[in-house]
């Protein structure tokens, strides 16, 4: 089977968020990482390949982005992807990303396409579903368990208050969340060395339009200072929650 993992390049999760004129994210001094869920998806794909080399022919990572995303793609190669692709495009919304990915996938034959549940920057949770509909592939979202046995997929998905086991036809788009693997795989020294020799193909984008526009950003209003209560007087806390905050 051939697996494609869609990876987004996002600011490190501890980044202090700032904007330029409230119209664009201020990327000054920001550290970039593989979107956390995409990193988990990639880790899981590699785990399966390592455990059952005969099942997985190849793992490709793909990103829609500009040249600055290449460090992140290289990191994915260092973790263990076989080759990387960058579609050279500055997408304005998730639809545009999904469209670019679909244009590429249509010409190839991947069995499993993995996306993360959302990007930690714009919190879309869009691309995987959109991609599957453009391709008219089945999709399974909120996947928390993925395995392959004798050429068949074993899938579990989280639902509110429980879990479902599913089967799906291939090719399919799998949208993964936490639980799919425990910890993201960290690149080894050897991985980092071999990543330099792996192929990173850059392809030109198709023309496309976005359906939405980000017009303005805003930081939340600063919160009032925390009211401290004496640990010897917990009753006061409960009174405040009842009479002042009116939440109990």
């Amino acid at each position: 089977m051939k697996i494609l993992v869609c990876i987004n390049n996002v600011p490190d999760t501890t980044t202090k968020i700032k904007f330029v004129n409230n119209t664009a994210f201020d990327s000054n001094g920001v550290q970039w990482i593989i979107n956390p869920w995409d990193e988990l998806a990639l880790t899981r794909a590699i785990e399966i390949k390592e455990a059952q080399p005969s099942e997985i022919e190849n793992i490709t990572v793909i990103n829609v982005g500009l040249a600055e995303a290449e460090a992140t793609i290289r990191k994915a190669l260092a973790i263990g992807a076989d080759n990387g692709i960058r579609i050279n495009y500055d997408a304005k919304d998730s639809f545009a990303v999904a469209y670019q990915l679909a244009e590429y996938i249509k010409k190839e034959n991947y069995d499993i396409i993995l996306c993360g549940i959302e990007s930690s920057d714009y919190n879309g949770a869009n691309v995987g579903g959109m991609l599957s509909e453009i391709l008219e592939f089945p999709s399974v979202s909120s996947i928390s368990h993925l395995d392959i046995k004798e050429g068949k997929l074993i899938l579990k998905r989280e639902i509110d208050g429980g879990q479902e086991t599913l089967s799906t036809q291939l090719p399919f788009v799998g949208i993964v969340q936490k639980g799919i693997t425990k910890e993201p795989k960290i690149p080894s020294m050897r991985g980092i060395m071999t990543a330099r020799t792996k192929q990173l193909l850059v392809i030109e984008a198709a023309s496309c339009e976005s359906l939405t526009d980000f017009i303005e950003f805003e930081l939340p209003k600063p919160k009032a200072a925390c009211k401290k209560i004496d640990p010897e007087n917990v009753r006061e806390l409960v009174q405040l929650l009842h009479n002042e905050a009116k939440v109990i």
Partner: protein, 324 residues
């Protein structure tokens, strides 16, 4: 024209989020001078369906079809698209939960309709259609405009609340057209955790972190939660260590919740944890470290040993309940 919402039931009962969604849709419909149509897939009794009209649904469409018994993203998308056309809906709203995230993006492509997820309020303007959503895991907000004629939204839970606005009850059934090509996934088995309050549905959440020291100390958290009718949650290391089950893990990589009250017990308040809880209306922190970052996010705080504070809190809540 109408505002269409996708409601969700749980064993025939609507989740709170469905009532919130109707309340929300009602206000959007008022802005657009139109009505609210609620779609319900699965077996729900009429007395339960009627509840949707209390929050403002003018029309309720039910679909019962054996092929839709498990969530099949492709088939559900097709059904909702059919109903959108039939109802001439201009806005379609989902809850921003697993189901909404699974269907809304597919529907967006199928209808060529712009989608904004994790919206936090009703549209700022309707011409052009501009709406606010959370970005950077609640560390910021963005105003987004939708350019297409049909607009799709997913509403962040507890962002709007409940609001009654009774309407006459108008029920309709709908028989969708489904073909084999849409039925490529099958649900083989469902494993539901019963007897627990759904974390994403809970008004109050009591949550424990590594400061609780070990799974054997969770008794007071559960007791407090049961007194308050609350759900229980935990930080990531707690579920990673297996002290608590994974469905309790809140934070950026776990569940994102926004209860009216979040009580953080022995949780340091790392930025990734706050990403999942910072939209709570009121946050209480109990931590022995006065410099723990959780106090910056909290409204009320106690600097002290959580294992001593929790029993006192249980006593105080019992006293309060006895009085009221």
């Amino acid at each position: 024209m109408s505002v269409l919402i996708y409601t969700e039931n749980w064993d025939g009962k609507f989740k709170k989020l469905s009532f919130e969604l109707v309340s929300y849709a009602k206000e959007v419909a008022k802005k657009l001078n139109t009505t609210v149509t609620a779609l319900s897939i699965g077996n729900v009794e009429e007395t339960e369906l009627k509840k949707l009209s209390i929050y403002g649904a003018n029309k309720i469409i039910t679909v019962t079809n054996a092929n839709l018994s498990g969530l099949n993203n492709q088939a559900y998308t097709s059904v909702i698209a059919e109903i959108t056309v039939k109802e001439n809906a201009s806005v379609i709203a989902f809850a921003h939960n697993n189901t909404g995230k699974a269907i809304a993006p597919r529907l967006s492509v199928k209808l060529k309709a712009g989608l904004v997820t994790a919206v936090v309020a009703t549209p700022i303007t309707t011409e052009p259609f501009v709406i606010a959503k959370k970005v950077f895991t609640s560390k910021a907000y963005a105003k987004v405009s939708i350019k297409s004629s049909i607009k799709i939204l997913t509403l962040l839970q507890n962002a709007y609340g409940l609001n009654e606005s009774p309407e006459a009850f108008n029920l309709e059934t709908f028989e969708p057209i489904l073909n084999e090509s849409m039925l490529k996934t099958t649900v083989l088995d469902v494993n539901k955790i019963s007897g627990k309050i759904l974390l994403t549905d809970a008004d109050i959440v009591v949550s424990g972190g590594r400061g609780m020291k070990g799974p054997e100390n969770w008794g007071p958290i559960e007791e407090l939660a049961s007194l308050l009718g609350a759900g229980t949650a935990c930080s990531r290391p707690v579920s990673d260590e297996g002290w608590r089950s994974h469905d309790e893990h809140t934070g950026q990589t776990g569940k994102i919740i926004a209860p009216t009250l979040y009580i953080a017990c022995g949780i340091s308040g790392a930025i990734q944890h706050l990403g999942g809880v910072s939209s709570s209306k009121c946050i209480v922190a109990i931590n022995k470290d006065p410099d723990a970052p959780i106090f910056e996010a909290a409204d009320y705080g106690i600097v002290g040993d959580v294992l001593k504070v929790l029993p006192d809190m249980i006593t105080a809540v019992k006293e309060l309940k006895a009085l009221s």
